[in-house]
Symmetry: C2
Amino acid sequence: MTIDQIVSQIKIKKSFLCVGLDVDLDKIPEHLLKSEDPIFDFSKSIIDSTAPFAIAYKPNIAFFESYGLKGWKSLGKVIEYLNLNYPEVFTIADAKRGDIGNTSLKYAKTFFEIYNFDAITVSPYMGEDSIKPFLDYKEKQTILLALTSNDGANDFQYLINNHIPLFKLVISKSKKWTKNNNLMYVVGATKAESLKEIRILVPDAFLLIPGLGAQGGNLEKVSEQGMNDNCGLIVNSSRSIIYADSSIDFAEASAKEAEIIQRAMSKKLKEKGVI
Amino acid sequence: MTIDQIVSQIKIKKSFLCVGLDVDLDKIPEHLLKSEDPIFDFSKSIIDSTAPFAIAYKPNIAFFESYGLKGWKSLGKVIEYLNLNYPEVFTIADAKRGDIGNTSLKYAKTFFEIYNFDAITVSPYMGEDSIKPFLDYKEKQTILLALTSNDGANDFQYLINNHIPLFKLVISKSKKWTKNNNLMYVVGATKAESLKEIRILVPDAFLLIPGLGAQGGNLEKVSEQGMNDNCGLIVNSSRSIIYADSSIDFAEASAKEAEIIQRAMSKKLKEKGVI
């Protein structure tokens, strides 16, 4: 999926919301547990109910993986369902992969070919040749960790080299790794104060912003500091949307949560002149 | 598996060799492709033939993952086969995982519980809370990327903060994250020149050293610079052992390659007074 296609969706839906599918069998409504594939059934209901308000879905691979073969089977069904029924939405494998070149090539094949995702999150620690195999898929988006939403971000991401913190070096180095306009960055919603400086480095890049809701990120601040003429933001919420309610009406509750966020997003998009 | 158990194996087998299972259907002997599960059959033959010379096996998860469900099924059989038939060998999931706490918890569950591995490789970029869930498994080993074997290591791992390169800061910070003697580090065999300095920071820690063989690492140098009284090294070779030959006699060829390395290792262990 190209950036133009993503921007087009943002304008049509007046939204830059990504719904994170962190599907946990201990948290989904109990009545679903009797079905043959509760992981898929839950995901499908969430997707169907929130699709009017979301432009992207982000299955968190760890959650699927933790159910072994059954989880991978469910993941295959979820991505197939998205591809078939909502081909316009942007699908992100939240996998944080990255390894030496010949191994990253295998990860890229897995998520871009076998599971036809539009994008994958990757980790920068191993440098250029660990990310290149993903970037070589020109029609796919590679989303590199820059400044993450968790406390541990303070351990290494702010370390200063020649007056520049690591997360900025990751951005300024990596932006030279592709000419295909297919590199995005992860910046935690809890790190809104750094968005202005990041925008100086990559005024045009799309940023995937996790951490809204359960992790405490703030949509107003994020939009104020990070939005560009194309929106340039995809803001993710997982738990606060998908676990909005645990009754039989869970999907409507999720839709309501998603709609509340979409309305706030629509307002920001208008304020900033994107729509 | 505890460090004592690993050291005991090193002394019994006079070896600190890890065989990396980077199983690629394009590279395994052709006659195996007719079998129902060539990935497992190939892995099983390699394990059986090299087990007298190796103390550890390291399935490269990317390779298994890239075959989808079939690959995960094969991975399950490989780890089960190792656990049942070679309970004394140290099993490493080479997965380079790492995410926010609640997500890393899922990855830890996957590899430590569902697939009963003894260890997993993880990436430090997201800091302490992304690694803690792995370390909380006291009987399992967590192996943190420090200085990797690939060219991309030069992009960020050597960046200097307060006169100290990032890979050393990763080591000196992370060593405080556990008191369970269950944290190891990845240091590429191509980076032998840094092993002496790493040993000053973590004289007792075990180091997983990939990059011998196809990637150009040198066993002599690595042992000279990195070995401690307990050996403290697990040196991995993948391609040069498992693809030593593509005929029907591939397993014997792999055994021969493994034995050549084991003999060189035995010599170094004696020289250094470990055995």
